[in-house]
């Protein structure tokens, strides 16, 4: 590091640019909490006054509570199932040398780059042809599909830094594959598994496009928000709700990313 210092001397304009860029990323999002305390149904400057009315209204908004519970249920199941599939896949690619690994991993990662609307309508056609009624279950199915790539990417990063000798030691000491997995692999991979669960939960919780196509009569929180956007007088309520969701998401995702990258920061495998 020392000898390259003369190449990378501090670059003030670039440093400034980095700060501006971070502002571009974060300031727009901060407008939601900012205006959620504004005492006016119009989202405009100047501020009319400070109020917590919009947050108080949230407390007895029954349809919102129902949507929130639906979202939590869908996201929990989607996160658990996707992480389970993610563990299998990530273990397989990192533990064994597999022929044709690249195309196979690419195939699993495909939903990352397919436009959400295509996946949404394709799944909609499938469930309707099978005669399955649209419900929270169909949303969960869609969310599992899009969460698996994220889960796998997260876990591969974790499994790659793995000391295989630990598993071999367990096997040598008489554990069978199953016990090796439970007593050695899983505890060692635990931060990765937790990170995967949290990220998949967030993805499903925030996902709108697939849910929009696959929803039956019961809606999830993003669908609820979308329908509210049509009514201008509901806007402040959406601001308050959005501010809460963003706050929770930021904390959860930061924790998950910290878990995921701890100890592997130096590796070049950054993933998404």
């Amino acid at each position: 590091m020392k000898n390259v210092a003369y190449i990378n001397r501090p670059n003030r304009p670039l440093h400034l640019y980095a700060l501006v860029y971070l502002a571009f990323l974060y300031v727009p999002v901060l407008f939601l909490p900012l205006f959620s305390f504004n005492d006016s149904i119009y989202v405009t400057f100047p501020f009319k006054g400070f109020t917590t009315t919009w947050y108080e209204q949230m407390l007895d908004n029954k349809p919102m509570h129902a949507a929130l519970m639906n979202s939590i249920r869908v996201a929990s199941v989607a996160a658990l199932v996707a992480t389970m599939f993610g563990i299998f896949a990530a273990k397989a690619v990192t533990r064994y040398r597999i022929r044709g690994k690249k195309p196979v991993v690419g195939a699993i990662m495909l939903p990352l780059v397919i436009p959400g609307i295509i996946l949404g309508v394709a799944l909609l056609i499938l469930v309707s042809r099978l005669g399955i009624p649209l419900s929270l279950y169909t949303i969960t199915l869609g969310h599992i599909l899009i969460s698996i790539p994220f889960s796998m990417a997260t876990l591969i990063a974790r499994f790659e830094g793995f000391d295989k000798s630990m598993e071999e030691a367990a096997a040598d000491l008489g554990d069978n594959a199953w016990w090796t997995f439970w007593r050695v692999t899983l505890p060692m991979a635990f931060p990765g598994v937790l990170a995967s669960l949290l990220l998949c939960f967030t993805i499903s919780f925030d996902e709108f496009i697939m849910a929009f196509f696959l929803a039956g009569t019961e809606s999830t929180l993003p669908i609820f928000i979308y329908t509210q956007l049509r009514f201008p007088q509901k806007l402040p309520g959406v601001l308050a709700l959005g501010a809460c969701i963003l706050a929770v998401s930021f904390v959860v995702v930061f924790f998950a990313q910290w878990l995921r990258r701890r100890g592997i920061a130096g590796s070049s495998n950054v993933g998404v």
């Binding site: 860029y21 400057f45 397919i114 698996i148 990220l199 925030d206």
Partner: protein, 309 residues
């Protein structure tokens, strides 16, 4: 990777049984790998291939009231080819997504460069900071831009309040510009990460060599850093272009009628218009066009990088 395949063994043909055994073990390792991989792989393939196949089949049907006429026909494709609206929307979608991809990469490159070369400690924190908004609700981020760019939104009302403008700037919301800005904000992480990875991979001694041989900072950047980071740039453009062509939330919320994109019309077919076969045909046309554009782009990118590197 600790194990090596059959190097050395090949030099001793008298032990060919050993090499055969190794090859068998390697094969069985591959096999065991696939066994472990199979649940995920099968689920993913099934849940992508079957719906797509059904969608292709449906695109050849026709809507008949509330029912489908399942006899094979090219009506949907013929109608789509004859529709001027569709052509406009397709070209606009490609232009908006292309602009967005270029714009996002341009603004993200310096940032990725900064983190790769000028951040010495706490790199992880910077990477997390840059990608964190990506994980938060897409819908809420688009909504935030609606609040900011709106006719009576934060920018317009703020400028009016300060006294800089009399009337709201109308071009801000409900325009292709608004769609590009919102998409660039939403997909920034897809630009930052690939560029960062390719910059981080650059062997620092190459930069030293260039410096020792008398290159100034700018020549060094143009002759070493930029060409070596091109793979990341190319990947980033593709990673943004492909999914944004099919985006419909952003155009629906901030695009207005001038910012409508192809996905909006697909959504209408599955919603209000209730013509699923037509919607399937449009979705397939969109996918084919995106794939063709992506392939041409990759071919051109390979040609270009071959010449530079």
């Amino acid at each position: 990777m600790p194990r090596n395949p059959s190097y050395g063994v090949a030099l001793r043909p008298q032990r060919s049984w050993e090499s055969r055994l190794r090859i068998f073990l390697m094969r069985s390792e591959s096999l065991r790998g696939y066994l472990l991989l199979s649940p995920t792989l099968i689920v993913m393939l099934l849940s992508m291939c079957v719906p797509f196949a059904l969608m292709v089949a449906m695109s050849f049907w026709t809507q008949n009231g509330f029912d489908f006429d399942k006899s094979f026909s090219l009506t949907n494709y013929r109608k789509a080819a004859a529709s001027p609206v569709l052509e406009v929307l397709l070209i606009r979608s490609l232009i908006i997504s292309g602009t967005c991809a270029i714009f996002t990469v341009l603004i993200s490159y310096p940032m990725a460069y900064y983190v790769a070369f000028h951040v010495q400690r706490r790199k992880m924190l910077w990477i997390i900071l840059m990608t964190l908004p990506f994980w938060t609700s897409y819908l809420l981020r688009v909504f935030a831009w609606m609040v900011i760019l709106g006719y009576n939104g934060a920018i317009n009302s703020g400028l009016k309040w300060v006294g800089l403008i009399e009337e709201p700037l109308e071009f801000l919301l409900y325009s292709p510009t608004a769609v590009v800005i919102t998409l660039a904000h939403a997909w920034a992480a897809f630009a930052i990460l690939p560029i960062y990875v390719s910059l981080e991979k650059i062997d620092r001694s190459l930069l030293e060599a260039a410096a020792d041989l008398g290159d100034g900072p700018i020549t060094r950047f143009l002759r070493v850093t930029l060409p070596l980071s091109l793979p990341g740039v190319i990947a980033a453009m593709l990673l943004i272009f492909v999914p944004t062509v099919g985006d419909y939330v952003t155009p629906a919320l901030v695009g207005g009628s001038d910012g409508m994109m192809i996905a909006n019309i697909i959504q209408v077919q599955f919603g209000r218009a209730n013509n699923w076969p037509m919607g399937s045909a449009l979705a397939i046309i969109m996918m084919i066009i995106v794939t063709v554009v992506a392939l041409i782009y990759m071919w051109a990118a390979r040609k270009a990088t071959d010449r530079i590197v």
